[in-house]
Every structure is written in C-alpha cells, then in structure tokens.
Symmetry: C2
C-alpha cells in the first residue's frame, strides 16, 4: 500500500511518501469487527503465517500461533501483518530511493519510533476501513507496538495482547543494543550508512551484532542444556583445538546464526530498530509514571511473560499489569514457566498457546454479541 501524503515523525523529520508491505489472512466480516493486527519484532516481517505458493519453505514467523484452527484462528479473524517503516522486507526503508536525492536513503533515512510505526499502521487501517481492531497483538518489540496502540488510539482496539515485552528498556538492554550498533558502525564496510553505493555490506558488524543479540534471546539454562560445554568435534578425538577457530558447539551455533543473519538483514534497519527499542518509554511524557501513561487506554489486556526471559523479564510485564490494575483496566496476566528465555514467545508451549487460544475464544464470543462500545 502506497501512501502519498507525508508522514510526520516523532523526531520532527518527515517521510514525503512511503509504502507499507502487508499481508492478510482470513476474511474481514461485514461490520469489519474481526480484524486483528499482529505487530512484528526485531527481524520479522509482515509474513506472519502460512507459506507462499512459490516458496513453500518460507513459513511465517508466528505460524504456530496464527492460522486456521490455531490460537489466533484465521477461520474466525481477519489477521493483518505489516512490515514496519525502516525495515528491509518491502516497506519503505534505508535501501530504497530517497526521492530528495534519487539515491538510496542510507544514513539519511530518519530514525523512526514505535509510535511512528503505529501511526503508519493506523493509516493502513484507515484505508482498509477498519475503525476498531478486535485486537492488536505483539511479542517483544511487537508488544511495545500493541501497548502504543492502546495509548495512542484507545478507541481503535478492543483488546491488546502484550507478550514478553516491557514498558521500557533497562540500562543493560540499551547497553547490549549499543554494542550491536558499535559493531555495525565501526565496520569499514558500513561507509557511514551509504554502503549500498559501494556494493558492499557490513557483514562482520551485522554478524557480531546478531551474535550478541542472540545470547540475550536464550536463557542461561537453556543454553547449558542445549550446548553446555559440548565440543563441536566431539565424535573425533574430543580434544581442544588450541587456536581461535571453533572448539565448542555454542560457538558454531552462534557463528552460524550470525552468518545467516548478515546475509539477509540490512545493517541500517538493524540500527533503526535498536533505536526504536531504546527510545520506547511511554511513561517518559508522564514523568516516569506508567499508570498515568496508561490512564487513557480503553482496551482489555492480555499480558504474558516467561520465567527465564532475562531480556524482558517477568518483572517488566508485572509493571505493565500493575499500572493497568491501578487504572482499573481489565487485565489478564500469564507468567509462564518456560525454559527458553525471551525466544519462548515464538515457540510451541501448550500452556502458553492454550492461554492465548482461550483469550481469543473470549474475544470471539463477544464479537458475536455487539457490546455497548461496539454497537
């Protein structure tokens, strides 16, 4: 979807025009009340569920959650996945032509925030004729977008689903993001952000950035269980190599993740997304008072966290729940005992999936009987 009118950003900059890549699943009902917006996290996209006919290997990133008969059932709901501005999967981003210069934006692409993404998503909803979503849902950075929706457009969502997220990053979160940024910015192939015209990609920087990020997605225990101190060549002589190559399985795994990522992800997008994460802090405008920041929300909330998530720990979700409760908002909170750290929000877990399924069943039951707000 192309938008010809300019979008003014939180920074004060504006995008003259832009395109949002989106995907839909299921059917929008007659009164357009069954739409659910699913917001993506760091390296995901609009491709939330299913596969493409011509690329059956490319499964949507939340395919276990979204689809026919799944917790978010596309036989019932009309689900929308939108690739965010600044991303590298089709929506306008740093690799696209800057109309002002005729060259790729590169470093000139403006820093975008969670609120900017939400504003752009709202325009898409306008064009699709969706006045009010049945739910806006997301995990991690996606959960921040859901939260921002509830704050910015309180009457445009009846339910808000915030999973493995946080109302703001901690100093440690920001620190890890800055390590990732420094790895990219100091890669000579970054060329100040204008590497496209040099025909190179700052692969080394992206690789290190992804490696450090990946460590924070997994739990210490999960890593210990999956990899421990297993040597990669364990089948052979079980000896250390005494060089700087790969000794341990965990090294092999991380380097593989880093290599793979550096081949498809855009370095400028990575920088932009870490900044959007760092900047998100809705309580900031209210002197740090999250309760005040959430006072205008109208949605009913489902908040979930995972016990071993040390990136966005359960404590962060409890802050959201406490602030909603202080506002007498209706909120359901699930703290799920799961071993997989932050990544748990993407993984199969019967208790987690059943909670979400039950929540959408409730939404569905209500949809069939128009409520006061909805009538």
């Amino acid at each position: 979807m192309h938008f010809a009118e300019p979008l003014r950003l939180q920074s004060g900059a504006q995008l003259a025009d832009y395109t949002l890549m989106y995907e839909t699943y299921g059917t929008l009902n007659a009164d357009k009340s069954n739409a659910v917006l699913v917001c993506h996290a760091l390296n995901a996209s609009h491709h939330v569920a299913g596969v493409y006919a011509d690329d059956p290997k490319k499964v949507g990133w939340w395919d276990n959650m979204v689809g026919p008969g799944k917790p978010l059932d596309t036989d019932r709901f009309f689900v929308i996945g939108v690739n965010n501005l600044g991303s590298c999967f089709g929506s306008t981003g740093p690799m696209h032509l800057n109309p002002a210069t005729g060259k790729p934006y590169g470093a000139a692409f403006p820093v975008v925030t969670v609120e900017d993404w939400v504003a752009a998503q709202a325009r898409l909803a306008d064009v699709l004729g969706i006045a009010c979503f049945a739910a806006v849902m997301g995990g991690s950075l996606g959960g921040m977008q859901a939260l921002a929706w509830a704050i910015m457009y309180p009457s445009r969502l009846r339910h808000c689903v915030v999973i493995a997220s946080t109302p703001k990053l901690t100093a440690q979160n920001i620190a890890f993001n800055d390590v990732a940024r420094q790895a990219i910015l100091s890669d000579p192939d970054y060329h100040g952000g204008d590497f496209y015209e040099h025909g190179v990609v700052p692969k080394n920087g992206l690789r290190v950035a992804r490696m450090v990020g990946h460590i924070t997605y997994l739990s210490d225990d999960d890593m210990a269980e999956k990899f421990g101190r297993k040597l990669r060549n364990a089948a052979a002589d079980n000896a250390y190599k005494f060089d700087f190559g790969i000794d341990f399985e965990i090294e092999s795994y991380l380097r593989y993740q880093g290599d793979k990522f550096s081949e498809y992800f855009d370095a400028n997008t990575y920088l932009l997304i870490t900044k959007a994460l760092d900047y998100f802090d809705p309580a900031r405008a209210c002197d740090g008072d999250l309760t005040l920041a959430l006072a205008g929300t109208e949605a009913e909330f489902f908040v979930a966290s995972f016990s071993t998530d040390w990136r966005f720990s359960p404590e962060r979700s409890r802050e959201i729940v406490a602030a909603l409760a202080c506002n007498r908002r209706n909120v359901t909170y699930a703290e799920i005992d799961a071993p997989h750290g932050h990544d748990a929000f993407l993984l199969e877990d019967a208790r987690y999936m059943n909670m979400v399924r039950a929540w959408y069943q409730r939404i569905w039951d209500r949809l069939k009987q128009p409520t006061r707000e909805h009538a």
Copy 2:
C-alpha cells in the same frame, strides 16, 4: 625473571624461553613460609598493589586488598604478583620477538592455558626458593589459577583463596567470549594477528569486545541504579537525538570503557585470555567429576561469591565448595550480598574485606606455630 629452559605447554607446543614480569611486596621471612601468590584476572597484571615512584597515578589493581595493614597485610606476608604468559604487560607475549622468526609472535604465539600459567608461576617460585606458599589467591580468572595450583601442586600451598570464580565456563560465558573474539578477528586491522608489522591496532574490535565484556561484569540492578535511562545531555533539553550517536549515559560510559581499553590492551592477548577462560575445566580429565578432580588437593580453602554476579554466579562457587566438602577438605565459604555483580571482587565492601582479613589473620596465627606439614 628470564627462564632459558623451554616450557612445554598443554597444547603440545612449547616456548623456547620466556620472561615473567613480577612484583613483590613485604619481606620474605627466614623460613620462606610467608609468601602469598596473587594471580590476576583478564586485564590486570603483576602490579597488584601500591604505586610506582615515577607514576603515582598507576595504583595496583587490588590495592584495597593488598598492602600494609590491609586484609592481605604486606607487613606480615611476602606478596608476589606475576604477569601471565601471553599478557601485554611485560611477560613474554604475542608482541614480543619470536626467536624462531625474528618477528613479533603475533598469531604464532601459542594458546596458553590456566595450567600453563601455573606451571610457569611454579618455576618462578622455584627460583625464589619458595617451596610452599602460605596462600595462593585470586579472583575470577585468578581464582581459576588458585584452584589449578591446589590441583597441580597440592603440597606447595597451605591455603587457597578462590573468589568470584568458577570450576568451568557455562555455554553463555563461552558465547560472550566468542562474540568478543569475533569482533577482534573480523576487524580488518587485525591482519590475522600480525598487525604489529602493519603499524595498526584492531581498535574497533577490541572496543566492542571490551564493551560486551564490561556488561557482564556489572549487575543489571547496579547498571539500573547507576545509569538507568539517564540521558547524557540531561542538563540541556532532555530530548532524544534521533541519530546513532550517544543518547544515554550508559552508552557514553561503555564507549569510554571500550575506547580506553583499546588504547592499552593487546588484541592477541585478549584472544589468548578468553581461550584460557573457555578451556579451564579441571573436572574434564575426570569425566566431569569435580569431586574427583579436587581429591588430591591438600590446601585449606576460602571460597567467596557475590549475590549479583551473573558472570560467575554463586552457584558456581557452591559447586566448588560442595566438591571440596565431599573430599572432606577444610573450606570456608562466604556468599556476599553485594550489588555490584562480578566486579564486586575488586571493590570495597566491609563484610567481604573483613572476611578476607580474618582468614589471613588465621593463616598468620598458624604461621607462627609450625604445623606438622610445615615442620
């Protein structure tokens, strides 16, 4: 001290000859029974305590612990600090000339292990005529050396002090080390380890390596308290910058630490030390049985850990204590409730310092009355 006879290393390689830089404090008594060896961690050196007459700003790294009247009292004990092989503070390392080629070792410097360091330290003790140390002591990687001393030379130390250490790295520990290594190895200025002859230093890689390391030295809570989400320009307009420069205090702090480190530390040394950390695992030779690995030890142990240390958590120290207890070794264990994460072992903390002081008092009381072992 120069050693002309070759040192065979755990890897099978050997150093033809080598020099160890060391420093001593206090006076060795007549029967040479009051010597304490202090082993250093990652970026420290032989300069444990005090200042140099010509450089009064360069205070020893454990000056709060070691000195006249301090917990390890140099009015009583003869304290030795040794710079480890492969380091960049005077002992033979990658920046020194390789006698085989006449050029700096660079990448040709052999990978050294904790056990290699201890073997080299033992030779120094031989030359100094110290048959048995009153104590061998270290924190973090230094604690690993103390532990290795107790295993390799059980009769050469009467006490072993292991602080904020671990019997082996976890997968997560190794993962962080490998991120640091990859940052250095992929810096074009690393030149495969032979950057000396190119007249450059892989500063960007070292900087990122130090930044990621530094995050693991501090606790999440401590970072939150010290930095939180404070903006660096808070005095001014309290606004985000909307670029990839510095917004937050924590970014400024980490980049400063990274910059400082990259100016004085050697990249090859950093690689070597992270490998020594990764490889340390005395239980490995005993099929993972730490109790068996410690069965031959004779020293009395003091083990300490810090509650918020998530690099080498208290659980790791408890594993050491449990294995010693199974061997009916005499062991004192202090788990200190301290907010400063792994770095706590270097910092002032009255309870911690008093515990160490009391422990050395006990050693001192015993020294005055020759024991059976010592007679």
